[in-house]
């Protein structure tokens, strides 16, 4: 175990290892601490989607710039992460939703996104197996450069590339405390010894709250249990991710052919409940077969539980803490950590390695919750 590092990153999910890669590439000495194995938290449980269609400008901008990075990530990292751009089809079910979509598309276009409103007749040309009547579709939006990638391989690719640049990744290592002096981070205590450092990145997902508590910082994040199911492999039927904010459903067909998707669990409670529920299975299979009736005949193989680390405005908490110097927040992704990870790791690296701040980091700082005017992200599913 190393005794000294420039930066200690807590959490071996995609955001932790992506930040480790970017920092190590910038020449810093980095250690990643993961209490289980790489991608064991939300990253490895996620629905794998990569979306740029958001209702807030910050998320849209982070996502657009992340996709630009995803496009050449396999070659940058020297490993195929199975990134595929089949687009995201967002179904609208009411006039009210259509108006919100028009507003979102206008903002997204202003930020340079290739996105458009589809009328009902165009929807089937993108996903032919949908039952438009059954789901009461009145329109949709489509962005062809949205897509998905393999979250496991992305995490491993970042981790391998980080190691090549000299980073140390220590799995099965638990953080037990963080020491500060004059409100500045000085060391991290772990189950395998103490590491002296002046920077700590809290990328611990649903456990980020407990890490922040170690230095006396209170964060408003809450864990929400989410479930995902996967079917057997099928011949390719469609490439787009289909989502609906009304039904809360999302589903796509992965490269290997399986349908993977999720929906909010009926009567969900906040907390770290890990057992998958039958009520999710019922609700998901009933809704999914209403969207795509032919899936009635398809077997589901498995379903699992993961967590959204949800903030009051459904947007991440990023950047250095205003009171504890050297403590970097990188959590509260509210279900969107995987897709935003390339740009998040870049912004945090620019801040730590080059002291360069950015308007996004400023606007997504923890201190925004002290004010009363929160900008809510509305485009959330699952």
């Amino acid at each position: 175990m190393k005794r000294k590092a420039d930066v200690v990153i807590i959490g071996g999910g995609v955001n932790g290892v992506a930040t480790a890669y970017a920092l190590a590439k910038a020449g810093l000495d980095v250690v990643v601490l993961e209490k289980n194995y790489l991608s064991s938290g939300a990253t490895g449980k996620c629905g794998a989607g990569i979306r740029q269609q958001w209702s807030t400008a910050e998320n849209t901008e982070l996502a657009i710039r992340s996709v630009q990075m995803f496009e050449h990530l396999s070659s940058d990292l020297g490993m195929d992460i199975e990134f595929r751009q089949g687009g995201y089809l967002i179904i609208n079910h009411s006039e009210k939703e259509l108006r919100q979509s028009e507003e979102n598309v206008e903002m997204q276009k202003r930020l340079g996104l290739n996105v458009r409103l589809l009328d009902i007749s165009e929807i089937l040309s993108i996903v032919p197996v949908l039952d438009l009547k059954g789901i009461k579709a009145v329109g949709a939006t489509f962005c062809p450069t949205d897509g998905h990638a393999n979250p496991f391989l992305t995490t491993f690719a970042y981790a391998n590339a980080a190691r090549k640049h000299g980073a140390t990744i220590s799995t099965h290592t638990t953080v037990t405390g963080i020491k500060t002096k004059d409100q500045h981070v000085t060391s991290v205590k772990t189950s395998k010894g103490t590491i002296h450092t002046s920077w700590v990145v809290d990328a611990a997902g649903v456990y980020s709250k407990d890490i922040a508590k170690m230095v006396g910082i209170k964060t408003p994040n809450k864990p929400y249990r989410k479930e995902v199911l996967a079917t057997e492999r099928l011949q390719s039927m469609f490439e787009a991710m289909v989502i609906s904010f009304t039904d809360g459903i999302y589903f796509s067909q992965q490269q290997e052919g399986q349908i993977v998707g999720g929906i909010p669990i009926p009567h969900e409670q906040i907390g770290l409940y890990k057992t998958p529920t039958f009520s999710f299975l019922r609700h998901m299979s009933q809704t999914l077969t209403r969207y795509v009736p032919l899936l009635r005949h398809v077997n589901m193989l498995r379903h699992w539980t993961g967590f959204y680390d949800v903030t009051p405005d459904a947007r991440p908490i990023l950047g250095e803490d205003r009171t504890v110097k050297g403590f970097i927040h990188c959590h509260g992704f509210s279900g969107h950590g995987f897709m935003l990870s390339p740009m998040v790791s870049k912004l945090l690296t620019e801040y730590i390695a080059y002291e360069k701040t950015s308007p996004i980091l400023d606007r997504l700082n923890l201190d925004r919750f002290e004010g009363s005017n929160l900008t809510q992200e509305h485009s959330v599913v699952g």
Partner: protein, 96 residues
Amino acid sequence: MKHHAIVCRCEDITEQDVIDAIHQGYTDLEELRRKLRIGMGPCQGRVCISLVKKILEKETGKKVSVESYPTSRPPVIPISLGALAKKTRGENETKS
């Protein structure tokens, strides 16, 4: 010598694929599963996981504990979405 025996029938993974991944640094059953997709097919790991455990022990010389076995995911056998979606007796159409 190449080891061509199939270890995971669902995903067509050979013993050699497992050995290669271990030597690339995937030395945890869960990480091997995520790298190779072993245990993610219709058998849900019943065929492959204990074989992969033996290979991992042989290659690393370390005992693999039963606690580190990948999580078993429901359902136990594949089940159609149609069967899951079916309304049970007495269940109101509008309730779902």
